[in-house]
């Protein structure tokens, strides 16, 4: 790619564009936090950022390293306790969008952030675990996942279901009593996938500029569904890139 931006920058910009102004977004640290702050600094100044540390409406002017950096509390509309953020704000469905990362993800958007390989008590790789993700995935109006696409991350089966997407397919969320809409959108460094309204399967609907369908297929551990009207997304605008780079450098 001869572009003047990286695949990670494209991914972050695509994720930011997904967030609508005026909505409330539960933000995990890392890529989700970067994308949410980019959205707030560009097209969505009224985006409400909610961090699980209890910061509601945080407005940081630089990226926090953790979900509890002082800048989040200093700029929040309200700082509440951790039981309150989960019980009063997340659980009743007050939050529009949950923004999650993943170590593994399957075609139904089920997420693993717990263990990889071996078995649970003797894993090959022990990951940090669930954190707030299971209930974010269950209760937010919808979930956006941001993850780099590769055979390592896009797996036929996840080794551990940490957070439920569409379970084994249509009807599973309702059967389990999960009230939120589930993972409607997955943003990767190659493109954008959306859950098919009928089959619930993640379907490639948009490629980033310069990426081919073949490349996306090769980076997917199951036969990838591709939309008939597959589109190519817009590259980052100079403004988006400038704001993102300023955020990263601050």
């Amino acid at each position: 790619m001869s572009a003047n931006y990286t695949a990670d920058e494209m991914m972050t910009v695509a994720a930011a564009r997904q967030l609508r102004d005026g909505t409330a977004c539960f933000v995990g640290i890392g890529l989700p936090s970067t994308a949410a702050n980019l959205a707030r600094a560009t097209h969505a100044p009224g985006l409400v950022l909610i961090y699980e540390s209890g910061c509601l409406g945080a407005k940081p002017d630089r990226l926090p390293l953790s979900i509890g950096d002082g800048i989040l509390a200093d700029t929040a509309d309200s700082v509440v306790s951790v039981p309150e953020v989960f019980n009063y704000w997340l659980q009743p469905g007050r939050i529009d969008v949950g923004f999650l990362g993943a170590a593994q993800l399957d075609r139904y958007g089920n997420i693993n952030t717990t263990v990889i390989g071996g078995d649970y008590t003797d894993p090959k790789v022990r990951l940090p675990g669930a954190g707030g993700a299971p209930e974010i995935a269950a209760s937010c109006g919808e979930v956006v996942v941001i993850v780099r696409q590769s055979l390592r991350t896009f797996t036929e089966r996840v080794d551990f279901v940490t957070s439920v997407g569409f379970g084994a397919g249509p009807g599973d969320r309702a059967r389990l009593g999960l009230r939120g809409g589930g993972p409607r959108t997955v943003i990767t460094d190659l493109g954008v996938l959306e859950a098919d309204p009928v089959t619930c399967e993640l379907t490639l609907t948009r490629l980033h500029p310069g990426v081919t369908v073949e490349r996306a297929r090769e980076a997917t551990g199951w036969p990838l569904a591709v939309a008939d009207d597959l589109a190519t997304g817009e590259p980052p605008t100079p403004d988006e890139l400038a704001v993102l780079r300023a955020l990263m450098a601050a």
């Binding site: 390293l65 953790s66 002082g70 894993p123 790789v125 940090p128 269950a138 209760s139 439920v164 599973d172």
Partner: protein, 272 residues
């Protein structure tokens, strides 16, 4: 009424081998100095409880203080994995570590139940995940009013909870502000409690968003200025993000880790 004690005396008196211990703090106000004192005093067989075991629990685990960990997210926030925690789980070094794993919502509610004197908490959570397969402490209960099936988790009742706060007064009342996480619930859920503070003052200056814990609900208070470092105490210090990043390298290797603990914890003096 909380006793004012030295950190060394507070840990010696309140934290015992085999105890269930919660050192809480959600990024902010993490009681690092107290954790280091637990390592120095050579506590063993602890069941460590915490929503977000991060670097201080990595140090306690690597130093061989822990037998079991009850938690919901074990990582170095914004940096990556905890290498001592990983080494204990993957290779039983320096000792096997039993895990009981939850979600944040579950752990927060377990503390709320403990603080409320209830045997369990109810929430919408865990449903459809693999977490309930690995512990008997995640079960379901039918609502007696609607019949809806909900999740139940048992109360957490630590033998001792340790938290760090900005201020105490001479009567042992404690004042904290900023991100106060789950500290109030964790402290009220515990049988004994130790609060380390940045400063002991004659009188509190009221602050927006403050949480004041009355001295009569706390066992002991110890003056430990800077006791949250590399975490921070809002109004006193900022988070030492460079240290969290450096920890990744320090903790990756067993020998480097041991050298660090020897130099910065074992041979360091406890604050008076």
């Amino acid at each position: 009424m909380a006793k004012l004690v030295s950190l060394a005396d507070g840990v010696a008196e309140l934290v015992r081998d085999g105890d269930t211990v919660a050192l809480e703090g959600f990024t902010h106000l993490i009681p690092f100095a107290a954790g280091h004192e637990i390592i120095r005093q050579g506590r063993r067989d602890l069941t460590l409880v915490r929503m977000t075991p991060d670097v201080i629990y990595d140090q306690l685990i690597g130093a061989g203080c822990a037998r079991r960990l009850v938690f919901s997210w074990g990582g170095n926030p914004g940096v990556g994995s905890l290498h001592r925690f990983r080494d204990a789980v993957q290779n039983s070094w320096p000792a096997p570590l039993e895990l009981e794993e939850h979600s944040h919502a579950g752990m927060a509610n377990r503390y709320v139940a403990g603080a409320s004197g209830l045997p369990f908490a109810v929430l919408r959570g865990y449903t459809g995940t693999d977490l309930p397969r690995h512990t008997t402490n995640i079960r379901t209960i039918d609502c007696p009013f609607t019949g809806e099936t909900l999740t139940a988790v048992p109360a957490l009742r630590p033998d001792v909870t340790v938290v760090h706060a900005q201020r105490a007064d001479r009567a042992g009342n404690v004042q904290m502000w900023g991100i106060t996480g789950v500290q109030k619930e964790a402290l009220l859920a515990a049988r004994r409690s130790l609060v380390t503070v940045e400063e002991i003052v004659d009188e509190f200056e009221p602050l927006p968003g403050q949480v004041v814990l009355p001295g009569w609900a706390i066992t002991a208070v110890a003056h430990a200025p800077g006791g949250a470092h590399p975490s921070y105490a809002q109004g006193y210090s900022v988070r030492d993000n460079d240290f969290y990043q450096a920890w990744d390298e320090i903790s990756r290797d067993r020998d480097t880790f041991r050298d660090w603990i020897t130099q910065h914890v074992l041979t360091a003096e406890a604050q008076a």
